[in-house]
């Protein structure tokens, strides 16, 4: 090796090390919080009497094949250990025709008691969605803006103190966007990243709140749910609807797909390592998709006898043990361990969105 070759090697090594330091975190998958084994998706008979789902809908979903357009990650923060039940729910309400639009409400997650009301910023017409960053009581709200273009949205960050009192509500100025409909949102556990998908578009947007960098990635289909590591989307392959979990943090774009017989997904949410999906098809059913250690996906389907209504929307409560849902105009919490559905004494109204909780 002559001097020039040696110098080139040294410069390359130095530039590479400075550009991507050895001390920078390797972008490895964030461990998904695993609920205790006993909590894993054992549905008691009691659940049969509780849930319902149904309606026959023609398969409207998504044309095009599932070709594994896996999303790519940003750096993934280390997951916190928190798996406790949430203390608070933040309820973001939809517009109620002819009535004064309520503000955002913080409620006790168990009793439903109103803890605080968050004043709505002047720029916001109404709030359409909310998601929680689980480690530090930060919530992100999707606000439909009063001014600007039609369907203009702004993202707001809400922080709660230990007592649930809102400490501040700030607009995330980098995240304004225009779209039809409302996004499916998720936040990284440490609130460093916010991600959303637009309705009826197979695009995942990831906003790094520290750098302001926005990245957009195609997903395999219409996304029903996202969490900080994965998207859950529906695509049709040769006319067969499939549910696909694209793992964000596998970095190799590891898509798990599984056919879902007889239905399409109307609403879905990640709950720990499980995806709860309301499927609409010829049978009442609930679907669980579990991501196993070996990277394969197990899908099981439960069918209930007494369909009494649609869930409408599903929101994980972050503990991996419950999901919040809207059922028959009420907010309810579904316990994945016991199959018990408890109605929260929260005046929901037809337009209320189940809030994020933590």
């Amino acid at each position: 090796m002559n001097d020039l070759e040696g110098a080139i090697r040294e410069v390359f090594a130095e530039v590479a090390e400075k550009g991507v330091p050895s001390t920078s975190p390797v972008l490895l998958p964030e461990p998904r919080p695993h609920p205790a084994a006993a909590r894993r998706w054992a549905v008691p008979a009691a659940a049969s009497a509780v849930v319902a789902i149904i309606a026959i809908i023609a398969l409207l979903v998504v044309g095009g094949g599932q070709d594994g357009n896996a999303p790519r990650p940003g750096s993934v923060p280390v997951a916190g250990p928190a798996l406790a039940s949430p203390d608070f729910i933040v309820v973001a309400r939809g517009r109620i025709a002819g009535a004064q639009v309520p503000s955002i409400e913080v409620r006790n997650a168990t009793s439903g008691r109103l803890v605080a009301t968050v004043p709505k910023p002047r720029a916001v017409l109404w709030f359409a969605g909310v998601t929680a960053a689980r480690d530090n009581r930060i919530f992100f709200l999707d606000g439909v803006l009063r001014s600007g273009k039609e369907n203009s949205h702004g993202i707001y960050r809400l922080r709660l103190d230990d007592g649930g009192t809102p400490k501040d509500l700030q607009e995330v100025r980098l995240a304004s966007f225009t779209m039809a409909g409302f996004p499916v949102m998720a936040a990284a556990p440490d609130a460093s990243r916010l991600m959303w998908t637009e309705p009826m578009r197979s695009v995942l947007t990831i906003l790094d709140l520290r750098s302001g960098r926005i990245r957009r990635f195609p997903t395999g289909g219409i996304v029903s749910a996202i969490d900080p590591r994965s998207t859950f989307d529906t695509a049709r392959v040769i006319g067969i609807p499939r549910e696909s979990v694209l793992t964000l943090s596998a970095k190799g774009g590891r898509p798990h797909t599984s056919p879902l017989p007889g239905g399409i997904v109307a609403a879905a949410a990640f709950a720990g390592d499980t995806i709860i999906a309301e499927t609409v098809g010829s049978d009442a059913r609930r679907t669980s998709v579990a991501e196993l250690k070996d990277g394969t996906m197990r899908l099981s389907t439960e069918t209930w006898d007494e369909p009494t209504g649609s869930w409408g929307a599903i929101v994980p409560d972050g503990s991996g043990r419950h999901v919040l849902l809207q059922k028959d105009g009420n907010l309810a919490r579904y316990d994945l361990d016991t199959g018990r559905l408890s109605t929260l004494p929260v005046p929901a109204g037809k337009s209320a969105q189940p809030g994020a909780a933590w």
């Binding site: 410069v11 530039v15 390797v26 594994g68 790519r72 990245r215 970095k251 774009g253 590891r254």
Partner: protein, 156 residues
């Protein structure tokens, strides 16, 4: 199948892409794309026991696409390039002349040098990664070295 490969080589591949495209964010995107592409092509790949060459080729191709789009002004870099004059300050003083000479090279020549002197690939491996013949690798590398020697005036 890809996860062990990711754990072992991701950082190195990002650094390689960084040296070619110039900025880390783009490099991360390129490498992620490369993993995704290889993943999608897994069923068709003949040698699944050694996926690294496929990944390297995918990274190099991804870098080229990025540079091509930049030339067409379709996609600006996320951050200042590590080959910019401003970035020269981040290398040791006695390396700055070499840094400047490298930054003045055409992208393709620098790419060949990165594969040769950063990844330590053989000429055959470089040819595979760049999709060119071994002879073209030799001539490209030779021209790059001559340009560097000239720029450095025999100081290196």
């Amino acid at each position: 199948m890809l996860e062990p490969l990711f754990r072992r080589h991701h950082r190195h591949l990002v650094r390689t892409a960084l040296l070619i495209v110039g900025d880390r964010a783009t490099a991360e995107d390129v490498v992620q794309d490369a993993f995704t592409r290889v993943h999608r092509r897994l069923p068709k790949l003949t040698d699944r026991d050694d996926l690294l060459p496929y990944l390297r080729t995918a990274v190099v191709n991804g870098c080229r696409s990025v540079l091509r789009r930049r030339r067409l002004l379709l996609r600006p870099a996320h951050d200042p390039s590590v080959w910019s004059a401003e970035s020269a300050a981040m290398v040791a003083e006695d390396h700055r002349e070499v840094h400047a000479a490298l930054s003045a090279l055409p992208a393709r020549q620098r790419e060949a040098l990165v594969l040769r002197y950063y990844l330590d690939l053989t000429e055959a491996e470089i040819a595979e990664a760049m999709g060119i013949s071994v002879g073209t690798v030799k001539s490209t590398t030779s021209r790059a070295m001559a340009a560097l020697a000239k720029a450095l005036g025999g100081n290196a």
